[in-house]
């Protein structure tokens, strides 16, 4: 008996649960809460407001449970094997705020709320007496919404309460929001560090506003100033770019001037060292195989060094041929830079090393295979027409009728016009009708074509239709590399 009592005492000592907190401190029936504590043991039992609840998952220090559906609003005790803590149970449809984008803000600032049941809700800022001094609709949806603090609200501490649109207008718990006066605009930090010319930069600080366009002045040690436009978010960020003309490795003093005339000068001097260009690196060629005259998209990093258009070369042995750069854009963030280039039209079939030179640095080489597709015809319809003329154009199907790629540029290109569609060099293509009498074959009018389909109107069309007889139809292509090629498409009868 003594041993049993001793063992029970030992167990009690070993598994002496304690509950430190419940998150969130208030929630509605059906919401999940996390109980933090110690020594919860292997199979903890939990009650909320006296109702037993299922443990969704747990560890020795955490238990995840759900508030019972039928629990009444009000204070409730959370009990884990005898260890207790209090929480507030809200009404069933009350908004629940789990995240608030800022707890300190200035007048006019936007605040984002994330939680549950936020749709059709209103937001109230209440003073110490509980009087709502500001009220506005929460714009957004069920799980996330935002509101803008009025421009004329007084500084001070407020309770932020979300009032739901459901019957009875149930309220969320109060959260704190401190309204502070706008002070001197100050730059604390710029990210990323050592950004290179032409690329995006973000200034972080305080009172960076009012929101809207601003001017960012970059002054070097000799007093020469470069200027860029920026966008201020009205409180703590300015988005801009390092000037293209900035010198890599040089240090600049930054001053931002906002659209109300205020500047960051009073907040103290901020200096930034411009980064040096890294060597360009090609990540991919798309496509990596195609005919001369095709378009290729080169994706990679550091493909641009300032405003200079990078040089792209296709090299085989000792011979390097420069490709024409159609367009390109400098990537935002961690994405890849892009270049659209034309495979030089006079390249013979074979493998070529593609390199990009930006600044004075040359990238790695990626292989592009120039491969002229075989010219073939698999079908031709119709194969006859009446002496009065064609009823419809002739459709010839096959392969090798022209380069494949059409590249549609949706991002704003740095090198060429925005939202452009780029097409490869058009090969010379002809479709002829030969009556076998020794005269020159007659050429049809190509209406449309792509790499595998030609739509062609027979020679003479409706006005001067082909004479009665039997013709041999041929397709001839000339990619512009002295390699004209002809293939027979079939026999065509006019009767």
């Amino acid at each position: 008996m003594r041993i049993l009592v001793a063992l029970l005492a030992l167990c009690a000592f070993t598994f002496a649960q304690s509950v430190a907190s419940v998150t969130p401190e208030c929630a509605s029936p059906g919401d999940r809460i996390l109980i933090d504590g110690e020594d919860f043991g292997e199979e903890p039992t939990v009650t909320i407001g006296g109702t037993s609840v299922e443990v969704i998952r747990h560890t020795a220090t955490k238990i995840l449970v759900e508030i019972p559906e039928d629990l009444a609003a009000g204070e409730a005790t959370v009990d884990v094997d005898g260890a207790t803590i209090s929480m507030e149970v809200l009404e069933a449809n009350a908004p629940l705020v789990l995240h608030q984008s800022a707890s300190t803000a200035t007048a006019g600032q936007a605040i984002i709320l994330i939680g549950r049941r936020l749709r059709n809700a209103t937001v109230e800022l209440r003073d110490a007496e509980g009087t709502a001094v500001f009220m506005t609709d929460l714009r957004g949806r069920r799980r996330a919404g935002f509101f803008k603090i009025s421009d004329d609200i007084a500084t001070g501490s407020y309770d932020l309460v979300v009032v739901g649109g459901a019957e009875g207008n149930p309220e969320s718990c109060a959260r704190k929001l401190e309204i502070v006066a706008a002070g001197d605009a100050t730059i604390d930090e710029a990210t990323p560090a050592a950004q290179t010319p032409g690329r995006a930069i973000r200034f972080h600080g305080t009172d960076l506003g009012p929101l809207g366009l601003c001017r960012v002045a970059w002054t070097d040690e000799d007093g020469a100033t470069l200027r860029r436009i920026g966008i201020a978010n009205g409180y703590n960020k300015v988005y801009s770019r390092v000037p293209f003309q900035a010198t890599p490795g040089a240090t600049y003093s930054i001053v931002i001037t906002f659209n109300d005339g205020s500047t960051t000068e009073a907040g103290g001097e901020f200096k930034y060292e411009v980064g040096n260009f890294a060597a360009p690196m090609i990540v991919s060629l798309n496509p990596s195989t195609g005919p001369a005259g095709d378009l290729v998209r080169i994706a990679g990093t550091g493909l641009f060094a300032g405003r200079e258009i990078p040089k792209v070369e296709f090299t085989q042995g000792d011979v390097a041929v420069q490709a024409r750069v159609y367009a390109g854009f400098v990537a935002l963030g961690d994405r890849n830079d892009n270049l659209i280039v034309l495979v030089p039209g006079d390249l013979a079939d074979g493998d070529y090393d593609v390199t990009v030179t930006a600044g004075d640095q040359v990238s790695n080489a990626e292989v592009f295979t120039v491969e002229t597709p075989a010219l073939t015809v698999t079908s031709m319809t119709p194969t006859r027409q009446s002496a009065r003329g064609p009823r419809r154009p002739v459709v010839i199907k096959g392969s090798g009728f022209g380069p494949i790629a059409d590249i549609i540029f949706k991002a704003p290109p740095a090198v060429s016009g925005a939202n452009a569609v780029f097409r490869p060099i058009d090969w010379k293509l002809s479709v002829t009708w030969d009556d076998g009498q020794g005269g020159d074959p007659l050429e049809g009018t190509i209406l449309t074509k792509n790499d595998s389909r030609i739509v062609v109107l027979t020679p003479g069309g409706w006005r001067n239709p082909l004479a009665v007889g039997t013709y041999t139809v041929r397709v001839t292509r000339d990619p512009g590399t002295d390699s004209e090629e002809t293939v027979e498409a079939g026999t065509f009868t006019v009767q």
Partner: protein
């Protein structure tokens, strides 16, 4: 990273701790719907502004429910009607699912670093 989380889920399930998807007995439809959604902060449209995205987690890949699109002015735009029903990147969906399988997150912000289907690194902040 992901396989570590998956192994963790298996381990938790094996010892009876309830890894994997959770159940919510007796939920009202509203509460059930809430558990089947997760809110994440990520750059959905590539403009370097964090967007607040509500995701439907009932099947992989996740589908977009609502979007508060971040803007440079700090005041978001409700772009839900434009994005609703669109499929989230499969790799990002799987990374979030791996995390949620064992999550104790309530009122937490958790950064998940993963690669998207194109192999590009992406950071997603799960806001529970």
């Amino acid at each position: 990273m992901h396989w570590k989380l998956s192994l963790c889920a298996v381990a938790l399930t094996a010892i009876g701790c309830g890894g994997g998807t959770s159940t919510a007995p007796g939920d009202s439809s509203l509460a059930t719907a809430a558990q089947e959604q997760v809110v994440v902060e990520m750059d959905l449209n590539g403009d370097e502004q964090p967007d607040i995205v509500t995701l439907d987690t009932t099947e992989l890949p996740y589908k977009i429910v609502d979007v508060l699109q971040g803007t440079a002015t700090g005041e978001p735009i409700d772009a839900s009607d434009f994005h609703r029903g669109a499929r989230l990147d499969g790799e990002i969906s799987r990374a979030i699912a791996d995390y949620l399988a064992d999550s104790f997150g309530v009122q937490t912000r958790t950064e998940i670093d993963c690669d998207n289907e194109s192999g590009e690194p992406v950071t997603v902040v799960v806001m529970e």
